[in-house]
């Protein structure tokens, strides 16, 4: 398709034209009342969306119109109606992602514009939030630096990855390659249930048991350490790593493993020389997704940390835990307004963009693995 595109510079125009032609043909071929109802439904749905955006009370009217169109279409032209409705539902998932992206950046914009800085004569919005280290909303000239929270998130994520990565990959190997079936039926749901325990319950355990223990064991000033938040968050990210890595390991063709075993290798040799190298990209995608989970984990961090944004010194001091990007939002949203609230949205933007990048990156890696394994077969 790419080569076609290069040869034909106005390709998109002809493609658009052919699409229009197909659409016109479709309208021609379809009964008139179906086309009318379809058009009415589309307009009503768009109207409902637009009036919801502007907070109009007439949203319900548009919605009722859409529902009426759907009901009529369902009774008279079920085939077409089903197709149209499912298309609208599909589009809605993309619209939701677009809305999330738009609204968190829209809400963050005032403070980004306010705290812009200049680098080599170019104005960079929000630069002022990354050049100091103080978060101090209650003074005459409030300071909103993201750096303490970024440090916290990085430290927690590093610890969590050190926990979830190796243990998760080993557990995935165990479940898909090593465990006897009866044991697998026990361990697999166990790992899933580990994902099911609500983060606030982990947090409550950490808050009432782990944090006091850590303060006592290391003679800390006050309660809350990045180290133990990281360990708890790692435990919570573990199931994600296990399930994705297990899929990747399972997708290695049985013929490759059998071929290796037929040469007289031990199971472990087959795993280290055939299974893991083949599944390597999928396994790394699993670890990336686990990192994403760890970055976004909120309640355990909020409950166990001190919620006073400060830079931990020295920079690797994991024994003191102050604030992560997620806990900043959760702990401060209720009591904030104005620029401070916008600053929380900046934290949300950082989280959203980094996790989005990790998600897309791991999907690209997974696809590469699918192609590779598919090609081997």
């Amino acid at each position: 398709m790419a080569t076609n595109h290069q040869r034909d510079p106005d390709g998109w125009q002809s493609r658009l034209a052919s699409r229009f032609a197909r659409f016109a043909e479709f309208v021609q071929d379809t009964e008139n009342d179906a086309v009318a109802v379809g058009a009415l439904g589309t307009v009503a749905l768009l109207g409902a969306f637009a009036s919801f955006l502007v907070t109009s009370p007439y949203t319900s009217v548009f919605l009722a119109g859409f529902l009426a169109a759907v009901v009529y279409g369902w009774v008279r032209h079920q085939e077409l109606a089903a197709r149209g409705v499912t298309l609208a539902m599909t589009v809605s998932t993309v619209v939701i992602l677009a809305l999330i992206t738009f609204f968190i950046f829209y809400e963050a914009w005032p403070i980004l514009a306010d705290r812009s800085g200049t680098v080599f004569g170019v104005t960079v919005p929000g630069l002022g939030m990354f050049t100091t280290t103080a978060w101090n909303p209650a003074t005459a000239s409030p300071k909103y630096s993201m750096l303490p929270m970024i440090q916290g998130t990085v430290l927690v994520t590093l610890v969590a990855t050190a926990v979830a990565g190796p243990l998760g990959v080993a557990a995935a190997l165990f479940i898909s390659e090593i465990a006897p079936p009866a044991v697998r039926e026990l361990v697999k749901p166990g790992v899933e249930i580990l994902a099911g325990i609500p983060s606030i319950v982990y947090g409550f355990l950490g808050f009432t048991v782990l944090s006091p223990w850590a303060s006592d064991a290391f003679d800390l000033v006050g309660q809350g350490t990045y180290l133990f938040v990281g360990i708890v968050v790692g435990l919570m990210a573990l199931p994600t790593v296990v399930s994705v890595a297990e899929d990747a390991i399972n997708s290695v063709p049985e013929s490759m493993k059998s071929g290796s075993l037929a040469l007289g290798t031990t199971d472990w040799q087959t795993m280290t020389t055939v299974t893991i190298p083949t599944a390597f990209s999928g396994v790394s995608a699993a670890v990336l997704l686990g990192v994403g989970r760890a970055i976004g984990e909120t309640m355990a961090a909020t409950v166990m940390l001190r919620n006073t944004p400060t830079v931990a010194e020295p920079l690797y001091n994991v024994f003191y835990g102050f604030e992560t990007l997620t806990s900043l939002i959760a702990a401060n949203y209720g009591s904030s307004s104005g620029l401070q609230k916008d600053a929380l949205f900046v934290a949300g933007c950082i989280l959203f963009v980094s996790v989005l990048a990790l998600s897309i990156g791991s999907q690209l890696i997974e696809r590469r693995m699918d192609r590779k394994v598919g090609g081997v077969e």
């Binding site: 939701i96 989970r293 976004g296 309640m299 020295p314």
Partner: protein, 547 residues
């Protein structure tokens, strides 16, 4: 088969060697559990163990095991017992040993010898490099035992010689006073013991297998099995601990008998019947009030139930519809790619970002304050990607023969989907939805921003959605004040407990105990969803395999 001449087929003559190695593995396990017991202070580091001071006993054990493991390597190297080691222990083992010894070197050179940062860096790198080459260069039997044995012997000697005694402590000098850390023997020694017992156990397992492919296999399996056991043990311990702590508060004051429970009025078409429950379970049926003895979580349970209902009503039709379009109608191309990336991105978006979105977009559009409906929709959006992904997987798994057979009967595509694809995919969809609901039922962060209000809510102020729909002549024609005001839910209630801290408030005598009770109820609700989901999956899977 060059090695066949000097190794016998039956390895019966190595039984002493193997027995000693097996005993060492067992001792390592004992040592590991001693270390574990010391972290939770079941074994006191400052007290005595087997008649000697604890650290002396542990030190003796460590030294013995270190010597034993090093001995395995040397015995094998001298050829006293036939083994089949490789030329090298491999780069992975070398890297791990280099890391461990590098850390020890850095700490010893900076702190014990007082050489500062540069000295520490040099010492760490130097010792790490020595460990790396000591592992990687010699034959496998020496490379994988000597550094391991030396590690255990090092810690053992440190404990035996009293360099780290029971009262030992160390605070790094470069930490500021307000963020100071002190490492005590009682908190550090157990971890040193556990780490070295893992390393020694691994090396002994390798020796037991006679090194080479079989030894590596045994060593690695030991660690992988341990890891699986540890994960399950942590899970069981977590759940058991919450049950242990929460059981008392939750079951306090339960009465069973006719007419002891609260009265529920069921009204239908003008008739109403009062039903009196035969059970009175205060923790589940009371709200917070100064006038009841036992504070309960009834409003929170109602709130969570409504949240789940709202999220499911929104997300399941949307998600299943999108999955139908993507698998059955759409041609695989750019559009489906975009949707797939978008759903996966939505799935991994942090819950707090959903909360921010709900607060910025949904809350102001329904009511001027946080509201139940904003919480429902936010959680619905979180559930949506999971429904799309699982429903799609279930539909893709439906064999194409089904579709072809249906199409061959001359029915339309939609009829095929409705009567063939959907029923066949239903088990997968249902399982996915149940597991997804379990996940969102425990979700807290979005509720803080979109729905939560009130710290301890009375039973009368629970969300009464059903009876409160109002019709009016002005737009938006249908309103429900219960949907547009803040309420509580189980996870939110637990967060309020954390905010309150400890002590007595709003009729709650012991907030921490109330918190454990709430945690147990929440855990029970979520795990019930998971249990049902997993059981459904097993049931349908067994049906599929036997059909």
């Amino acid at each position: 088969m060059a090695g066949a001449t000097d190794s016998s087929v039956v390895r019966g003559d190595t039984s002493t060697y193997e027995t000693v190695a097996a005993v060492t593995v067992g001792l390592a396990a004992v040592l590991f559990f001693l270390g574990l017991a010391a972290t939770v202070e079941l074994v006191s580091i400052t007290g005595t163990l087997a008649g000697l001071p604890t650290l002396t006993t542990l030190g003796l054990l460590l030294v013995c095991m270190g010597l034993a493991v090093a001995g395995f390597g040397l015995v094998s190297y001298r050829g006293i017992f036939p083994t089949d080691p490789r030329a090298s222990a491999g780069l992975v083992a070398a890297g791990l040993f280099a890391g461990l010894w590098g850390l020890i070197g850095a700490l010893v050179f900076t702190e014990t010898l007082g050489l500062g940062l540069l000295g520490g860096l040099g010492g760490g790198l130097g010792l790490g490099a020595v460990a790396f080459f000591a592992t990687a260069l010699p034959r496998e039997d020496v490379g994988s035992t000597l550094p391991a044995g030396a590690l255990a012997a090092f810690f053992g000697l440190v404990f035996l010689l009293g360099i780290v005694g029971p009262e030992w402590s160390w605070s790094p000098a470069n930490f500021p006073d307000s963020q100071s850390v002190t490492f005590f023997a009682r908190s550090v020694a157990p971890f040193a013991v556990m780490a070295s017992s893992l390393v020694v156990g691994w090396a002994a397992a390798k020796a037991y297998g006679g090194f080479g492919a079989r030894g590596r296999h045994l060593g690695a399996y030991l660690l992988v099995y341990l890891n699986a056991v540890a994960i399950i043990a942590i899970l069981v311990a977590l759940v058991a601990f919450v049950v242990f702590k929460g059981f008392g508060p939750v079951t306090e004051g339960i009465e069973v008998g006719l007419g002891v429970g609260p009265t529920t009025t069921i009204g239908l078409l003008g008739f109403s019947v009062d039903v009196v429950w035969p059970v009175f379970w205060p923790f589940l049926m009371n709200g917070a009030s100064l006038f009841t003895d036992i504070t309960g979580v009834f409003p929170a349970i109602v709130g969570t139930a409504w949240l789940v209902v709202g999220a499911v009503v929104l997300a399941v039709p949307l998600g299943v519809g999108a999955a139908i379009f993507l698998t059955e109608y759409a041609e695989q191309g750019r559009f489906t790619n975009v949707v797939e990336v978008a759903t996966n991105a939505l799935w991994s978006t942090p819950s707090i970002v959903f909360g921010l979105f709900g607060a910025a977009f949904l809350v102001p559009r329904f009511a001027p304050q946080k509201s139940l409906i904003a919480g429902m929709i936010t959680l619905g959006f979180m559930l949506l990607p999971l429904v799309v992904i699982t429903a799609r997987e279930a539909m893709i798994a439906v064999p194409d023969e089904y579709r072809d057979a249906s199409a061959a009967l001359g029915v339309s595509r939609w009829q095929t989907i409705r009567s063939v694809v959907l029923p066949a995919a239903m088990p997968g969809v249902v399982t996915g939805v149940i597991l997804g609901v379990g996940r969102i039922a425990g979700e807290t962060a979005p509720l803080l921003l979109t729905m939560g209000g009130g710290s301890f809510v009375e039973a009368g102020r629970r969300a009464k959605v059903l009876g409160n729909f109002q019709l009016s002549l002005s737009p938006p024609f249908v309103t429900n004040p219960e949907l547009t005001q803040a309420t509580t839910a189980l996870p939110y209630q637990l967060w309020q407990v954390v905010l309150t801290g400890t002590g007595q408030t709003a009729g709650v005598d012991d907030v921490t105990a109330f918190g454990w009770g709430t945690a147990l109820v929440l855990l029970g609700v979520v795990l019930a969803f998971y249990a049902v989901g997993i059981a459904t999956r097993q049931y349908f899977r067994s049906k599929l395999t036997y059909e």
